[in-house]
């Protein structure tokens, strides 16, 4: 009876131990690794929200029913989904449970002497036997030490082993994978990532409010941004005249950091570095600089308005919102740097540089909804409750008059999109990656093998054994034998 009462408790512990052993077995680690590979597939076939939110929105429009199911399975954000996280966390634990005990074991084995010479050498592969020579064991011993074998000396035999580096490399490789995983999680928990559109001539100050979008790692507070400032002095984009493909982007900036001011440039592939934060040049576009006047010629709005590029020739869309007049005015606009007209699409741009810029707009009047508290896109205006009062276009220097006021396109300036990234884990990941390759090479090209020699009354016996049946031992054993015989 007592046994029965004890059983559940014992059972639970045993179950835990059983589960742990299962989880940390190599088989489970391998299955988890494969599973992670398979789990990564949907994210490459289905549009992902972090990379391409527009495509996800389109998917919802085209296929709403399927999209809802995808959403439930987190298929629009696979790599942050609970099930993907579950797989890699399990893999992480399994890897640790698998590799750490093996490392300890290997460390002990490295300190210990090779195992004793087996009784029956003739059963092993690479067995040879020949007549005794006087100083056989001495010669064998010197060959072993010359070839850096570790040797266990016994009464009438030597047991030698070499190639621990293979397992060392193997363990180093797997330990480095753990380091990479630590680096990745560290970076995502304590990092930050933000984008800001900055007009040429304007200054970017690294505080949360200047960002257009900003996200922090789960464990990072938002008060720890580095206090640097970047003023964009000039931006130049070069394009291939034949294909409009970009050739080069360069931004010249004035950087203020810790009281020091310096001139620098940012290019694609050449970010700026501030401690562990880096600033990247990610995108560019145009900001028309406009002045809007009311009927009495008073300026009611003036300044650059960033427009959002839609294609490779930088046809851009945007919105100019003028809330400070009664009633409010909004311009739903598009901007083309090099104007051309097609009958099917209306105004298009045929080159991304400012060769023949033109601002086209429709003018709307009514409540723009800026005070409604609903977040709004700065590039769009919801015109459902507005009344259209005009339709026009202007080139730089032109003014367009409408009932109730006028709009002037003063000039056009470029803007750049700066990305600020802080990833405190990336150096760990890099070190992990370098160590992983080192470990991999050592483990793939290292060979672990043992050679034994025993002197008996009837002669000398030699045998060898290669782990993982690595090739080349035969040659090594025959070299050893000829050395022992005194042939070389």
């Amino acid at each position: 009876m007592t046994d029965q009462r004890d059983l559940p408790e014992l059972g639970f512990l045993a179950l835990c131990r059983y589960a742990w052993r299962q989880l940390t077995s190599m088989r489970t680690a391998l299955i988890l690794l494969m599973l992670m590979g398979i789990a990564a597939i949907p994210g490459s076939l289905i549009p992902q929200r972090p990379a391409n939110p527009m495509a996800v929105r389109d998917f919802f429009k085209v296929n709403p029913e399927l999209a809802r199911w995808y959403e439930r399975a987190s298929l629009f954000d696979v790599y942050a989904s609970p099930w993907f996280s579950a797989i890699y966390i399990l893999l992480f634990i399994s890897l640790i449970g698998c590799v750490l005990p093996r490392s300890v074991e290997h460390y002990k084995a490295m300190l210990a002497k090779p195992p004793a010479t087996p009784k029956n050498l003739s059963r092993l592969s690479h067995y040879e036997n020949f007549a005794t020579t006087p100083d056989a064991l001495d010669r064998a011993s010197s060959w072993f030490s010359k070839n850096r074998f570790r040797v266990r000396v016994e009464e009438n035999s030597l047991s030698a082993e070499k190639g621990y580096l293979r397992e060392t490399g193997n363990l180093l490789f797997h330990l480095s994978l753990i380091l990479i995983l630590i680096g990745v999680s560290f970076g995502s928990l304590f990092g930050m990532n933000g984008y800001a559109i900055v007009n040429v001539g304007e200054r970017f100050i690294n505080v949360p409010t200047t960002y257009d979008t900003l996200s922090f790692g789960k464990l990072k507070g938002d008060n720890s941004l580095q206090p640097f400032q970047i003023k964009v002095d000039k931006f130049l984009a070069k394009y291939d005249p034949k294909t409009s493909a970009p050739l080069d982007y360069t931004a010249w900036v004035t950087v203020t950091d810790e009281g020091k001011t310096s001139k620098q440039t940012i290019k694609v592939n050449k970010p700026l570095t501030f401690g562990n934060a880096r600033v990247y040049l990610q995108a560019n576009g145009y900001s028309p600089v406009v002045t809007v006047r009311d009927a009495n010629q008073n300026v009611v709005f003036q300044g650059p308005v960033p427009f959002l590029p839609q294609d490779g020739n930088l046809r851009s869309i945007g919105a100019i919102k003028v809330p400070d007049v009664q009633p409010s005015i909004g311009f739903v606009a598009s901007f083309v740097p090099t104007n051309a007209r097609t009958t099917s699409q209306g105004a298009i741009s045929i080159y991304p540089e400012l060769l023949d810029p033109k601002l086209l707009f429709s003018i709307w009047e009514g409540d723009l909804g800026l005070d409604s508290g609903v977040p709004q896109s700065v590039y769009k205006i919801d015109t459902t409750n507005l009344k259209q009062i005009g339709l026009g276009s202007v080139k730089p220097g032109d003014t367009y008059n409408y009932s109730g006021g006028s709009i002037t396109l003063e000039t056009v300036i470029p803007w750049v999109n700066l990305q600020v990234v802080q990833d405190p884990g990336k150096s760990y990941a890099l070190i992990g990656a370098i160590l992983a390759i080192t470990g991999l090479l050592t483990s793939l090209y290292g060979r672990r093998r043992r050679i034994w020699i025993r002197v008996t009354d009837s002669g000398i016996e030699v045998a060898g054994l290669a782990k993982n049946s690595a090739p080349g031992l035969e040659v090594e054993v025959s070299k050893f034998v000829s050395y022992v015989k005194g042939e070389q």
Binding site: G37, P271, Q282, L440
Partner: protein, 304 residues
Amino acid sequence: MQTTWAYISNYFVYSAMAVFTFSFIAHAFETAFAVRTPESSDSTAGNLLVKTLDYKRTEKTARIATALMILAFVLLLAGVVARGISAQHVPWGNMYEFSITGALAFTGAYLIALRKYDLRWLGLFVSISVLLTLGTAITLLYRDSSPLVPALKSTWLVIHVIAAIISGGVFLLANVVAGAYLYLDRVEERGARPAWLQRVPSLEVLDQLSYRLVAFVFPLWTFAVIAGAIWAESAWGRYWGWDPKETWAFITWVAYAAYLHARVTVGWRGRRAAWLCIFAGSTFLFNYVYVNVWGTGKHTYSGL
């Protein structure tokens, strides 16, 4: 000037294709004419007319086939280099350029392996697959030589892409060997090999060879992925972002890691190992074709 080099490159590629065709024909000749049907008086038993292979008869053809392959390799190399000069960057800015460079790497992998192993039986396959690749490249994927977009202007382009291309060439070679294994395995199940297959090494050798190729190139592939990550950090602001290309590179890596584990620690050999090898190789091919042609993401540049 640049256009001239592009034309020169095209001529070289076309010439290489012609020579690959001749090499293919020579390989086919070799295999076909080495088969020797014994005359009826030869067979003392009277009823067994076993066809055998007599390579002494075709040794000359075999040498010509290999020599043609080397010549084609040199021509293709010249084509790739001229393409690089015309575009003024390393010739892997779009899929046409990847394809010709990949074909070069594949031929190179074969020729290098040939020095160590007797792989001439593979020549037939290598020449036809390179021909198909070049044909597809020049008809479907051809793009005018053009400068690089800013994100590609980096030393890492050379390091990352060359590591990836070499890995790809060797992975595919391993796949071919694994495929040959599976085919021969089936053939041998039904009985003795037909004469024209006697040249191909034994199953054990094929099995071991595909493993060696993978084990040799796996660290290089790992390096290619890591070099890509380092580059991505400076170009895109993150070292890993699950871009489709990155995702599939990871999947390929996982598949080959599983293959190596299956062989080394679990002791898989033969049929199962060959299938796993082919599966892993096809994830690489999928990455190459799907992500470049239909995929989205940061690895799609300039049309193709």
